[in-house]
């Protein structure tokens, strides 16, 4: 801890950083002309599950790499578990667990050998290696398979093993970069069960990135990232509320008459999409009775939907996450090429 107290300013910084588990100020990363992360600020509270949501190429992985001390920021600062990612790299590394997008297991070794190797590299006290390994492997349901070579594991088992390994040294912050990418839906949901059990069992902050909208719902707070900046940061519910309206979908006998009637009676602009009339309204369930009473066009069906995170993403970035991915893929290729060159 004495590494922190190096002067008045540093002490003040350390104190505010101690309150937050992750604290980021003006963090920027450039690869040549490509600016992958463009000056982001946020804080993550201890014990929080915090998610970075955004399309591929938005800068999520670059941000996580900077927080994990794998990539040096071009400018800005960040502390993780109270330690500066630039000046206290080893201290940061001792206090974080990492699960990458791509597997980093030695598939020739058994699950147990991988765990022990990790424990040795992190200097876990010898007496504690066995009980800790048992605990984390049991948590992800792999204790019985500990003597099997990792090469025989399925994709989901490997990911679970990596999560267990990331927890082996009791990190204060666990980073999960796209923890469920490439897994089938059933495995994805079981990974989430483990993450939530973990959250209940240990005093740990979880920072993850995802480009699956439905998974972002599991986070306590979400930062939506697009083109290297954080466009909005809040709880999933608040984000959805901020969109401000529910989506009403109508099937009518005469769509054009219905649109005209909606404009005339309620001053709402509706549009036809996929054979149905769609419009947004503040409180959908209270609006529907008025609709029936006043519309004057026969209605065949009506449905009201709460805004999803897709709607949130759409309302803040003006595009759907799928379209964003398509346009980002070109930019990403440029960034990756620049990254390769810089290595």
């Amino acid at each position: 801890m004495n590494e922190q107290a190096t002067g008045g300013g540093a002490v003040a910084l350390a104190t505010s950083a101690a309150a937050a588990s992750i604290s980021v100020h003006g963090l920027t990363k450039r690869y040549g002309e490509v600016e992958a992360v463009r000056g982001i600020d946020f804080e993550v509270a201890p014990g929080e599950i915090f998610g970075f949501l955004g399309p591929n190429g938005a800068g999520k992985s670059t941000t996580i790499s900077m927080l994990c001390t794998l990539v040096k920021p071009s400018s800005g600062s960040a502390t993780v578990a109270g330690f500066d990612v630039n000046r206290q790299r080893d201290a940061v590394r001792r206090n974080i667990g990492l699960v990458f997008q791509d597997t980093t297991l030695d598939t020739y070794l058994t699950a147990e050998q991988n765990m022990r190797l990790h424990a040795e590299l992190y200097g876990v006290e010898r007496d504690l290696v066995e009980p800790r390994m048992r605990q984390v492997l049991e948590m992800v349901g792999l204790w019985d398979r500990r003597h099997s070579a990792v090469a025989t594991f399925s994709g989901g088992m490997k990911r679970r093993l990596e999560i267990a390994r990331g927890l082996m040294h009791s990190p204060r912050v666990l980073f999960l970069d796209e923890p469920t990418v490439g897994l089938d839906p059933q495995t994805r949901s079981s990974i989430w069960t483990y993450i939530q059990e973990l959250k209940a069992a240990e005093d740990i902050t979880i920072f993850l990135t995802t480009h699956y909208m439905d998974e972002a719902e599991y986070c306590q707070r979400i930062a939506i990232m697009d083109k290297g900046v954080i466009v909005v940061l809040d709880t999933p519910d608040a984000l959805k509320a901020s969109v401000g309206h529910d989506r009403v979908t109508l099937e009518t006998d005469d769509d054009n008459a219905a649109i005209a009637a909606i404009a005339e009676h309620f001053q709402i602009t509706a549009q036809v999409s996929q054979g149905a009339v769609i419009f947004g309204v503040a409180s959908g369930e209270h609006f529907v009775p008025r609709l029936f009473a006043e519309l004057g066009v026969p209605i065949r069906s009506v449905s009201v939907a709460r805004p999803s995170l897709d709607d949130v993403f759409m309302s803040y970035t003006g595009t759907t996450i799928r379209d964003a991915e398509a346009s980002a893929s070109e930019q990403r290729r440029a960034a990756t090429a620049a990254f390769r060159r810089s290595r």
Partner: protein, 299 residues
């Protein structure tokens, strides 16, 4: 061990199997780095022991040289060897070859580790990069030595006696060679991202190194260009002393000794065995140093 028991490595109340066996990662220390070196070394051995196929395939080339080339050419060469079996003559070189190939292959695993992601697990660990590089080099050297021992077991088949002193001397020499080659391979692997490129580069380096080293011909009376290349080849300084050690234990004529084991000279000066071993070790240390710098600079 004493240090670990006295520090507060367990949070209060965290003992017991459940709910949390919380561990605390200690600050960087020499002990931590030694543990890292040991586990990286051990991993090489585990992987090698699981790879039976590799053990066998890496012996194919030495066998070809020793028994096929050695036997086949011995009929042509009998006039020049003064009654010494050609296989006995090439044996030290073949031993070095087995070590060379195995050590290089061990270093190649670093490129595999990068391709399959495992390198990242090691690179993010809170230990010095030098520990990882050292562990890798020791591991590769141990594995290569093991391969060398298998070839050593064949000594009797080519007329080399199983003298304990000889075996010990050869063992030490091949350990130095194995370490140097692994360090060289690791140095190259630090720069190369694809396994195909690494294999191409090592093939390009290994074959000339082997052929120029005097493993299959005596190093005196060569044309000048070949003499220069021979003296520049690090392998020369492993093959030559190894051959001298073997010939020390053979009963052969002085003429044969002069013809087959002339010794390496620098501008007419006979380089002593210990200095030759020192040259090999020094090259290894330089490669190791460069490898450590290269890996430490990486993020």
């Amino acid at each position: 061990m004493a240090a670990s028991t006295s520090t507060e490595t367990v949070r209060p109340g965290a003992r017991g199997p459940l709910p949390v066996a919380a561990v605390h990662v200690p600050a960087s220390s020499l002990r931590g780095d030694l543990r890292a070196i040991k586990i990286v070394w051990k991993r090489e051995l585990i992987r090698f022991s699981k790879d039976k196929l590799r053990m066998i395939t890496s012996l194919v080339q030495p066998f070809l040289f020793l028994f096929v080339l050695g036997t086949g050419l011995s009929r042509l060469a009998s006039a020049g060897t003064h009654g010494v079996d050609l296989r006995t003559f090439v044996y030290p070189g073949v031993l070095c070859m087995a070590v060379l190939f195995t050590a290089m292959f061990s270093a190649a695993s670093l490129v595999w580790d990068r391709e399959f992601g495992f390198l990242r697990e090691m690179m993010v660990a809170p230990v010095r990069r030098s520990s990882l590089v050292l562990g890798k080099c020791f591991g590769g050297a141990t594995v290569a030595c093991f391969q060398g021992i298998i070839v050593l077991c064949l000594a009797g088949l080519v007329g080399v006696p199983y003298a304990p002193v000889l075996i010990l001397e050869i063992f030490v020499l091949q350990l130095i060679l194995a370490f140097t080659i692994t360090a060289f391979g690791v140095m190259v692997a630090a720069r190369i991202k694809q396994i195909q490129s690494f294999m191409a580069v090592t093939q390009m380096v290994m074959m000339p190194m082997y052929f120029l080293s005097g493993a299959i011909f005596p190093v005196s009376g060569l044309p000048q260009w070949l003499t220069i290349l021979n003296r520049l080849d690090p392998m020369t300084y492993a093959v030559d002393p190894m051959r001298r050690l073997v010939f020390n234990h053979l009963r052969i004529s002085a003429a044969a000794r002069r013809a087959l084991d002339p010794g390496v000279t620098w501008w007419g000066w006979h380089v002593p065995t210990l200095l030759e071993a020192g040259v090999v070790a020094a090259i290894g240390m330089v490669c190791l140093g460069v490898a450590i710098v290269e890996f430490s600079g990486r993020e």
